[in-house]
């Protein structure tokens, strides 16, 4: 016969039980949140004259993280289904270049150029999904090839020379402010919120989590994992495209380069926040924490007395430590579940 797990016989109201319970349910978010807090506290004290901990600097941090946030929203969808997308940075770069190319070389109106480039990036994401699911290629390989194709196309369009004109709408999104808040931050927040709503409150979002959690069981439940994964990779492409377009607006030019870091940063931010690389666990709140860790780290390291040439090394080391803490807290989380049974 069945056994009632002990957790139901325990005193539900004891503080100890509550703390354990909260930790268990949010084991995935506890460690990243802790890392973030430690970093903020550290930089607040270590920065020269405490200039890290100021409203203006936080706006700075958000602004720097905004492009990454839009891209990472797409990456969150992709990772949750258990796939990966290595081509995001290239697709971002390509869409930015394409919009300027249409604008400059063919006189296409800015808004139409912007929308066309966004559609093309979405289509590239769709190709990623199509090849991965229909031809059963690991997304690692599909998107590795797409990485080459998209950046190759960007190089072809620029012929090595940057475009110094970008669509007006990109410029507006990337540089202007709404009141005192940069629009780019608002755009990033809107995208993150929409992403969160889709993942948490819609049928498609549920499918993403379930397919990522157990692809075979999804198939055995009549849910086509193919469609879900294809759509996730398509969203990955479209978000990358949008991020690339807004970024050209922010820097005022489009060229075939300078995006190399974005892919790794974006995937690390999502994973750092606690979303599983194997799918099924995590979400936008995790991604936001991961982005903030990244933003705080980048910004904070500039404000302490550190050899600028060591910055990358230190960043890498801190990320490594944070990931190790993530893994351990997850292990403790599952162990506390087991001991309670």
């Amino acid at each position: 016969m069945y056994q009632t797990p002990k957790i139901f016989s325990q005193q539900k109201n004891s503080i100890q039980y509550k703390i354990i319970h909260i930790f268990r349910r949010h084991a995935r978010s506890v460690a990243p949140l802790l890392t973030l807090t430690v970093l903020i506290v550290f930089f607040s004290f270590a920065s020269e004259g405490g200039r890290f901990f100021s409203g203006r600097n936080f706006v700075n941090i958000f602004q720097q993280a905004a492009t990454l946030a839009i891209m990472s929203t797409g990456v969150t969808f992709v990772l949750l289904t258990g796939e990966i997308d290595l081509s995001i940075a290239s697709m971002a770069m390509f869409s930015g270049v394409l919009a300027s190319y249409l604008l400059v070389n063919h006189g296409v109106p800015g808004t139409i150029a912007f929308i066309s480039a966004f559609v093309v990036a979405t289509f590239l994401g769709f190709i990623n999904g199509l090849v991965t699911t229909r031809f059963r290629l690991p997304s690692f390989m599909t998107t590795l090839a797409m990485m080459q194709i998209a950046s190759g196309l960007a190089i072809y369009l620029t012929k090595g020379r940057p475009f110094f004109e970008v669509p007006a709408i990109a410029h507006t999104l990337g540089t202007e402010r709404w009141g005192s808040i940069p629009i780019i931050i608002i755009a990033a927040l809107v995208i993150l919120i929409i992403g969160h709503i889709v993942l948490t409150y819609t049928r498609f979002g549920r499918y993403i989590y379930m397919v990522g959690g157990n692809r075979e069981a999804a198939e055995f439940s009549g849910v086509s994992s193919i469609n879900v994964r294809m759509l996730a990779l398509t969203i990955g492409g479209s978000m990358a495209g949008l991020a690339g377009l807004i970024n050209t607006g922010r820097i005022g030019s489009a060229h075939a380069g300078g995006f190399e870091d974005m892919m790794l940063n974006s995937i690390s931010a999502v994973v750092l926040g606690g979303t599983s690389l194997f799918g099924g666990e995590g979400g936008i709140p995790n991604t936001i924490i991961g982005l903030l860790i990244f933003g705080v780290l980048n910004n904070g390291l500039n404000m302490i007395n550190l050899d600028i040439y060591l910055k990358t090394v230190v960043t890498g080391l801190i990320l490594l430590i944070a990931l190790i803490i993530n893994v351990y807290s997850l292990k403790i989380g599952t162990e506390s579940q087991e001991t309670e049974e």
């Binding site: 009632t4 049928r203 979002g205 379930m210 157990n214 075979e216 069981a217 999804a218 439940s221 086509s224």
Partner: protein, 497 residues
């Protein structure tokens, strides 16, 4: 005792924490014989084999090898003394060449300390040739069929010095011709003075290939005799125990066959899947439970997969309500009202996710719009877990925290969000205790009474006999016999398998 025996077990017993798995077993193996070992699941065959091959070391009693009293302290120790076992899961490494597999862990080296490929290939070729296995030794072992791989594994064990080879259910994963080839191979080994223990569910095979046969029942060895002096009926009786079988036939007097069923829900015509099954014809009606009985490897799972759109049959038609249907995916199957409870719960449950998410997923597109309404999901879940009796009845519990029986009830519940027209159950009670078993089967019987057509696949005769209206016996990919479940005994059922 008689020194002519190669291996002798005297009064061997084995307990697992107070439960006795073997009781005072005497077992003798003659040099150069093929010895068939049969018995129901749980009769003690595996335990006996594991003692002989050094897996279980804490047993009572004495083992003599060539007259010398021994006690193996590990499987490696037993191998050194010439006892090799081939389990159902082969240990061949598919990516390595046949030769590398044979020489695994002891590659030949040349004078520079590098692997001497030429000599390894040559030796392997000669050696396999001698055993009558004709393969390209340079090709990856995984590129050969399971049957060949099995022979390579046996060859490897003999190459490692084995005199006694234990074959555990070697034919259950093989097609007919492959099994024939294995038997040829076994005879050849016997001619080369190797001794074999052959464990199998297929009594005909055991009768044909063995010199002597031993029967296990409830941890006892109940019979040993020459294969030429016995027959299938006698062996089945020995396996089940005479008293027990009388009891069974008296018990089953229910008059299930006289109940008339509704319209035909599913009709299967001439279905074929290469290497899995062929010539499958049957139909199942509203409110009927069609039992499909067969051992592992009979083709039941492959058949279920084809009915549920997981695999494509090569030939044949499926009809629902007299109309031909084309099922290309599991999604199609769900749309036609087909539900499937697979033999492995991992294929059906999302461990780490809440019970309600597991239950509502299948019909989410029918019960929810674009946006989910959590309250609605919880209400549906609460109702269903009450209906099937999941305890604890908490829709938010991680499904992996439930016991096996309750997990299976969740699997059933996920198909009841919308009442299915056809429910396929594959080994629905495997590994469950009696209480959970009955509860699950109670749910199934309720569905039958509500007019669902049910296909119940199992390798447990009791389940099939107790719950089916009609029985198909499947063996080696074919339907051997159709039986109306009226006064059928376990013996009859097993006779056809």
């Amino acid at each position: 005792m008689n020194e002519a025996y190669l291996l002798e077990l005297i009064n061997v017993s084995k307990n697992f924490g107070g439960v006795s798995a073997l009781r005072n077993v005497d077992f003798q193996l003659k040099n150069g014989e093929i010895h068939g070992l049969i018995g129901e699941n749980g009769a003690g065959k595996s335990t006996l084999i594991k003692i002989i091959s050094g897996v279980h070391t804490d047993y009572e009693g004495v083992i003599k090898l060539k007259g010398e009293i021994i006690r193996f302290h590990s499987p490696a120790n037993a191998r050194e003394r010439g006892i090799g076992t081939v389990y159902q899961e082969l240990s061949i490494i598919g990516a390595l060449s046949v030769a590398e597999n044979l020489f695994l862990g002891k590659q030949l080296l040349n004078k520079f300390g590098l692997v001497d490929w030429g000599k390894m290939f040559e030796d392997t070729e000669n050696y396999l040739e001698m055993l009558g296995i004709h393969v390209d030794v340079r090709r990856p072992a995984g590129s050969y069929s399971i049957g060949i791989q099995q022979m390579i594994e046996v060859a490897r064990i003999i190459f490692g010095g084995a005199e006694i080879i234990i074959l555990d259910e070697p034919t259950s994963a093989l097609s007919g011709p492959e099994a024939e080839r294995l038997f040829e191979f076994m005879k050849r080994l016997k001619d080369q003075n190797k001794t074999l223990i052959f464990i199998s569910h297929f009594l005909e095979d055991v009768l044909r290939i063995s010199d002597r046969i031993s029967v296990m029942r409830n941890g006892n060895k109940v019979y040993t005799g020459l294969a030429s002096e016995t027959d299938k009926n006698f062996l089945v009786q020995q396996m089940l125990g005479v008293e027990a079988s009388h009891l069974l036939s008296n018990q089953r007097k229910s008059n299930k066959a006289s109940i008339s069923f509704g319209e035909k829900v599913l009709e299967v015509e001439n279905l074929k899947k290469r290497r899995e099954f062929e010539n499958i014809n049957f139909s199942v009606r509203r409110g009927e439970i069609l039992g499909i009985y067969g051992f592992m490897g009979a083709g039941k799972t492959a058949l279920a997969n084809c009915l549920f759109g997981l695999k494509k049959p090569d030939q044949g038609n499926l009809k629902m309500y007299n109309k031909i249907i084309n099922i290309r995916s599991t999604k199609d199957a769900v749309r036609y009202g087909i539900a499937y409870v697979p033999d492995n719960r991992r294929q059906s449950l999302f461990y780490g996710k809440e019970v309600f998410k597991n239950i509502t997923l299948t019909y989410l597109h029918q019960i929810m719009n674009f946006f989910l309404k959590k309250k609605g999901e919880i209400n549906i879940t609460n109702e269903l877990i009450k209906q099937v009796g999941v305890t604890p009845a908490n829709p938010f519990l991680d499904v992996s925290h439930l016991s096996g029986g309750n997990q299976q009830k969740v699997v059933l519940a996920k198909w009841l969000v919308k009442m299915p027209k056809l429910l396929i159950l594959n080994e629905p009670t495997r590994g469950m205790d009696v209480g959970a078993k009955n509860e699950v089967l109670q749910v199934v019987n309720n569905l039958k009474n509500q007019g669902v057509a049910i296909i119940l696949m199992s390798s447990e005769p009791e389940i099939i006999l107790d719950h089916s209206d009609r029985i198909l016996v499947m063996a080696k990919g074919k339907i051997r016999k159709e039986l109306i479940n009226q006064d059928i005994t376990k013996e009859e059922l097993m006779h056809w398998a």
